[in-house]
Structure formats: C-alpha cells, structure tokens
C-alpha cells in the first residue's frame, strides 16, 4: 500500500509495490504491470510520479517496455529483485545494526550468538 505521508518518496514506494508483487508471485514474468494511469487513478497521484517509479524498474531490468502496450515483467525479474534487496541489506541495513551494536557495547560474539538463535542454528 502507498503511504503518502511516509518519509519515502512516492515513486520509490511504487517501485517497491511492483517488486513485492513480483516477489510474492502475483506478477509473473511477461505479466503486464499496472499502468501509470492506473496508479494515478487508484492512489490519486500524478501519473508522472508513477512513471518515475516504473522507469526505475525498467532501468534495473526488472520491467521492460513494449511499445504502445505498456510495461511487462522481464525475464529473471524475481532474481534481480532479490539480489538488489540483498545488496541493500548488506550495504544499508546491516551497517546500521552494527553501529547500534557498537554503541550499546555488544560484542561480536554476543551478536553472532543472537543471530544463530534467531536463524535457528544454521
């Protein structure tokens, strides 16, 4: 769902909504993504904003344009999304966790132990 009041830009949220749909399997390869006008109508936003979000996915190879028809889910989109989000996890989310851990004087071993517990001892 779109949160108009969120800190995150709307066009980024739109890209994420599509990505989530792909991850969940609701949008499969070669399926047509919702159009900018559909987004505009449903969420009452400017179609250009929606277009910006969709274009990000096109640039990343997650969607591709079929002239005159719209945007479609590209081959291997799911894999690309997972890879992208893994990267973001390691580059953005994890460093924050480590920094906070350092601030709270949690040692590396304590951290590893907790992670092991949460992950179920893999």
């Amino acid at each position: 769902m779109l949160d108009l009041n969120s800190d995150k830009s709307i066009y980024i949220q739109i890209a994420e909504i599509i990505e989530n749909e792909i991850l969940l399997g609701n949008l499969k390869e070669e399926d047509q993504a919702p159009s900018t006008n559909q987004f505009a109508k449903v969420y009452q936003i400017n179609p250009a904003t929606a277009r910006k979000g969709l274009n990000i996915l096109v640039d990343e190879g997650i969607l591709y344009k079929k002239r005159g028809l719209g945007m479609f889910v590209a081959e291997g989109a799911r894999k690309k999304i997972i890879k992208k989000r893994q990267l973001s996890f390691f580059k953005e989310i994890l460093p924050e966790v480590i920094m906070e851990a350092n601030r709270l004087e949690i040692t590396l071993d304590e951290l590893i132990d907790y992670i092991k517990e949460l992950k179920g001892g893999e």
Binding site: L4, N5, D7, K8, S9, I10, Y11, N37, A40, K41, Y43, Q44, I45, N46, P47, A48, T49, K52, M99
Partner: protein
Amino acid sequence: MLEIINLNKSYGKNKVLTDINLKIQENKIYGLLGRNGVGKTTLLSLISNQLLRSSGEIKLDGEEIFENSKAMEDICLVKDLPESLKERKVKDILALAGIMYKNWDEEYKNYLIKEFNLNVKKKLMKLSTGNKTILGLIIGLASRSRITIFDEQTLGLDAAMRYKFYNLLLEDFENNPRTIIISTHLIDEVANLFEEVIILNDERIALKDEVSVLKEKSYFLAGQEDLINRVIKAKRVIYKDKFGSKSIVGIYGDLTEDERNYIRTNNIEISNIPLQKLFVYLTENTVKGEFSNGFN
C-alpha cells in the same frame, strides 16, 4: 512552453512580485503554493493578462502574450467570477464560456454538470459557495484550454467534493493532457497531484522542483552545533533550532556521498522533513540574520 521573464508587479508603492522567472512546460500539473496574500492570485492574473504587469515578459511558444488573441485562446484562468454577474443564470454563464473558449467541450460540460449535480437554471447569486466554486471547476475542465489554471478553487467544497474534482482532473488529464496550474493552500491533499511544485514567498520564487524529489532533498540534521555547521556551510538552511544540547537544522538540497559519510560517522541524526513542514518553512516570511545564507 510558457516563459515568464523578469516579471514585476507593484500596486502603487507596494511591490508584490519581483523578478519572477519561470518556465512552464507542456502537459504537466504544477502546484503553486504560498501563504495567503503572498501574490499567487496576482501572478496568475498576470499570466492570464487580466491584470496589467509593471514590467517583464510572458511568452507562449516564443510569442509575447499581451493583447495577443492567438495566445490568449490557449489560456484559461478559473477564479471567482466577477460580482457584477450575480443576476445571471448559470446556464448563460456556461454558454458564454462555451463561446469564448475555442476548445470547449459541450458534451464534457454536460457530463460534469450531472456529476456535480449543478442546477444550471439558478442565478449565480442563488448558488451556495460550494456550487459557485463547482461552476468554476466545470468551466476550467470543459474549456480544455492548453493552459488551464485553477486559482484557489476549493472554497465551500467538502473533502468528498474535492476528491471528486481531483479524480475528474486526473482522469481528464490522462485522456486529454494539458498544462494545469493549481494554486492552493491545502498542501497535504494535493501535493501528490502535482508533478512540479512552485513556491512563492517574499515576492519571489522560493522553490521550483519536482514533487517526487522533494522528500529526498529535505532533511533534518540534529547533533552538535559545530559539527553540523561544517556540513551546512554551502547548504540552503530553512530551519534552525536548539533542543537541549543539540542543534537542529532543516536543509533543502542534495547531500553528497562524502557529506552522508560525515553525517554518519559523526553521529548526526538525519531524518526527512515532512512535506507539510517543508512548505511551512519555505513560506515563512524572510528570516533575517540566522537563515539569510539559505535564501536567494
């Protein structure tokens, strides 16, 4: 494309607009924001030549629009109708609008009248405030003018009516794209309708930017004062305050990778500025002294 070049407007000794420069592109929805009385209506009245400018140029496709019949055919300004019309019937006013606007869509007008349930047989003065506004909205939408401007057209409308208008607007924009400029003070509702937003403050344009990037360009920074001062040196500061031992600033602009690293390593808290607050800060009256390095 509509170009406004060095536009100035004074009422006698009272300067309202100073050196306004704007480029308005085709088929975009623009928002014009600003405090009450800052000059939004003045600017829009100048663009539609209802008000005479003090100096400056306004060009459409390269041609000056003043007293230019061809250019004026493409511009429609919707604002409150003149008082002198109160005895006229709504259907007559709509008929006159239909005569004057060259792209007028009569069928669409009839559709809108039904949508809004407007009684066209009534005289203008017998309409409720909301219906007077709706009349203006219908004229603006049905005009299909290349440049359609809505000046504060929300008076008397409840939220349901406003959202109905936004829906109709987006729907028509999808099928019949045109340049739309909406001036309003209801920022929260409409910010997402706009592709670009223009903020008028202190006689000038305080900001003109894509709405989608506004959130990415506005930050609160909180931390030690001298640390923060180093980051904000060349930045546009729009807010400054103290909270305990912390200094809090609001800035508008891009942050480089280096600046982000600096912020992270020096434990400076960084968060987004909510749109509503952003607009409040940008439409504050000129702040002398502390923030003057942030404005033009």
